[in-house]
Symmetry: C2
Subunit: 252 residues, 2 copies
């Protein structure tokens, strides 16, 4: 049995998220259907980040085991010929024994794009909130986040996680073509955590002390204290980090 | 009879260009259909730039005459409620008597986006050529363009224009998120001119003297000497300039 690792990009607009669901067009469903044809047998895939409906990926990592002897370049070529336009295989490689895209991942990097004006071209990949953006205040709101943090306040209500403690390695905003972009890296993310942080940052932005407002929400551990969930289309899984990658910058 | 001016944005992916054609989904067709309902009567629109199939717009200007007494804000509101997601009314205003979006325009600004890597999110709005981008050489290739120029070499073969002389006010490349973006302003553009200039710039980029290569194509006035037409999805009509606009920077 070999283990194969794929680097995927997808436009999440027309997918009901990563996870296979009967009767729904999902990334896992479309990918496994084409892997079945390419490898002539059932394949079960695992993804580093289980993106929600409408969420995009430029750097999703997926692993699967196969008994096929087909070279990895041929697997990638067969997939590339067959996959729809909105799902792209960026790279494919043999993975070390025991590699699992989800369990082996050390950190993930997501982006969230906010628009400061309506933009018909970018509306699929960014969200325009109803408030004017204050980049400086947004940046100050993120200051309490880096470090080992209990992120229960940012976990979707009704969901549960074995461990709400996350190691946040980076959380910062920068100016972008048409608004502001959040760059956030953590060892793992709770369900809807980034989208809830964005909603909370937009509320904290309008407070006299954005950092204190964010710190109070974090310390409360209460979902009800955080802001509204930002919509999915602004979110993108940009990169996943593994120990064995030599030059990723955050792995060791 | 009043004259109304609209500022439109559209994602050109699912339109067969601006111009109404029977049985085709075009921007003019969709817009006039909804104006007919909003104003309860036939309306003929005119656009500043007749964009081709697949070409986008963030700043298209459209004018039409109407005998309706409906306030312009109500016309805009009716359109906004009815128009599809990929066609957006950004602004609407009463225009001075005699205003025509096409004939009154003094200059147009287009962008063309090139990718230097595959990007599943940006592939609708940018083009990845098969050559590596050299921004410095691209920039040098544009140097012969600003000024009063006979642009016959960049006019689509088989088309004709009353006057191939264009006043090019700006033509420059800059780095962009995922590649290079061309910013070009001229009083008017010939059919497929920007896309032919982009194809020619990509070829000139690989010459020892990119500026001389571009100048030779320009001087030849022969379409056969220019490069291949770059595909439509990288092109976007960004802005149209009029005399009556106070702060546009290029009008007077």
């Amino acid at each position: 049995v070999r283990s194969i690792r794929l680097l995927l990009g997808y436009d999440g607009t027309s997918f009901h998220g990563w996870q296979a669901q009967p009767g729904m067009r999902t990334v896992q469903g479309v990918l496994e259907e084409h892997l079945r044809t390419a490898l002539d047998g059932e394949v079960r895939t695992q993804a580093a980040g289980r993106t929600d409906a409408g969420v995009h990926a430029r750097g999703q990592v997926v692993s699967f085991a196969t008994t096929s002897a087909l070279p990895v370049a041929a697997i990638a070529a067969r997939l590339r010929r067959a996959l729809p336009d909105d799902l792209m295989v960026r790279a494919a490689a043999e993975a070390p024994a025991g590699f699992e895209a989800r369990r082996s991942a050390r950190a993930r990097r997501y982006s969230y794009r906010l628009l400061d004006q309506d933009d018909v071209l970018l509306r699929r990949f960014a969200w325009r909130p109803r408030v004017a953006l204050d980049l400086d205040a947004l940046e100050r709101a993120m200051r309490p986040l880096p470090g080992e943090r209990d992120c229960a306040a940012f976990m979707a209500s009704g969901s549960s996680a074995p461990c709400p403690r996350c190691r946040i390695l980076r959380a910062s905003w920068r100016r972008w073509e048409a608004g502001a972009i959040l760059d956030i890296v953590a060892d793992h993310f709770l369900y809807r955590m980034v989208r809830n942080m964005v909603g909370t940052a937009l509320r904290a932005m309008r407070e006299p002390d954005p950092a204190a407002a964010m710190a109070a929400v974090l310390a409360s551990r209460e979902r009800a204290r955080a802001g509204a969930t930002a919509p999915p289309q602004g979110l993108c899984l940009e990169q996943v980090f593994y120990d064995e990658d030599p030059a990723t910058g955050t792995s060791r």
